[in-house]
C-alpha cells in the first residue's frame, strides 16, 4: 500500500465489532468519519432469508481491497480507512461488511466510502449465498 495513512483490510469469520472499527480510523487531525455498514436483510428478491453464507477468494479479495483503498487515498486524500468483510455464515441483522473512512473534511470521506463499497460490489471476489426455507441460491445479479 502507498501513502502515509492507515489502511486496514480485515477478512474474518467472527462478528465485526463496530465500535472497535470506528476507533481504529480515528485521528486528532481528522474532522470527519464516514462509515457504511452492510447488513443481512430478512427479505431479498421477494423471499424470506434465513441466513447467508459468504465465500471469498481471500488472498485476491485482500489485494483488490488494498488497491481500492490506495485509489481512494490517491483520489480524495483521505487519512485512514478500514474495510472489514465477514465470510462464512451470517444471520439476519448481522453486519457482513463495515467500511470506515476518516478525513480532515467530510466531503472526501463520503466520496471515498461510497467508492469503496461500490468497488466491493463490482470487483472484489466475494460471493453471497442466500438460504431460504425452501432452498438456497448463489446471488449473482447486481442490486
Amino acid at each position: 500500500m502507498i501513502g502515509s495513512g492507515m489502511k486496514k483490510i480485515i477478512l474474518q469469520n467472527e462478528p465485526i465489532d463496530m465500535a472497535q472499527m470506528l476507533h481504529e480510523v480515528e485521528s486528532d487531525s481528522d474532522g470527519a468519519v464516514v462509515s457504511f455498514v452492510g447488513k443481512v436483510r430478512k427479505n431479498s428478491r421477494g423471499k424470506n432469508v434465513l441466513h447467508l453464507e459468504y465465500e471469498a477468494y481471500r488472498e485476491m479479495a485482500r489485494k483488490e481491497l488494498a488497491k481500492a483503498a490506495d485509489e481512494a487515498e490517491e483520489k480524495w486524500g483521505i487519512s485512514n480507512c478500514l474495510v472489514a468483510h465477514r465470510f462464512g455464515r451470517i444471520e439476519v441483522g448481522e453486519a457482513s461488511i463495515i467500511i470506515a473512512v476518516s478525513s480532515p473534511h467530510r466531503h472526501e470521506a463520503f466520496l471515498a466510502a461510497q467508492y469503496l463499497i461500490d468497488t466491493v460490489k463490482k470487483k472484489v471476489p466475494i460471493w453471497k449465498k442466500e438460504y431460504y426455507s425452501d432452498g438456497s441460491s448463489w446471488i449473482n445479479d447486481k442490486e
Binding site: 479479495a61 468483510h85 466491493v120 460490489k121 463490482k122 471476489p125 449473482n140
Partner: protein, 81 residues
C-alpha cells in the same frame, strides 16, 4: 507445463471441484483451458459470458496466456458487500 485451477462459489458447485491441477501445453490461453474444462465439467456452460478470470490473483481476460506454475481462478459474478 503444470497449472492450478481454482473454482469458487456457484462455479465450484457446478464443477464439483475447488482446486485442480492440470498439465497443459505451453502458451495456452484462458479460453482454451475453459474449453477443455467444459468437456469434463459441462455445468460450466451455464456460466457462458458471465465468468471472470484471474491469474495469480490478478484479473485477466480470456485471451491471457498462462505460464508454468500459474494459478487460474474461475470466478462467477461477485456479490459481496
Amino acid at each position: 507445463m503444470k497449472i492450478k485451477i481454482k473454482a469458487f462459489a456457484a462455479v465450484k458447485e457446478a464443477c464439483g471441484f475447488e482446486d485442480k491441477e492440470l498439465t497443459v501445453s505451453e502458451g495456452i490461453s484462458v479460453e482454451k483451458i475453459l474449453l477443455e474444462l467444459k468437456k469434463c465439467h459441462p455445468g460450466l456452460k451455464e456460466f457462458d459470458g458471465t465468468l471472470l478470470f484471474a491469474i495469480n490473483e490478478e484479473y485477466c481476460d480470456q485471451d491471457s496466456v498462462l505460464s508454468d506454475e500459474d494459478t487460474l481462478a474461475i470466478l462467477p459474478p461477485v456479490s459481496g458487500g
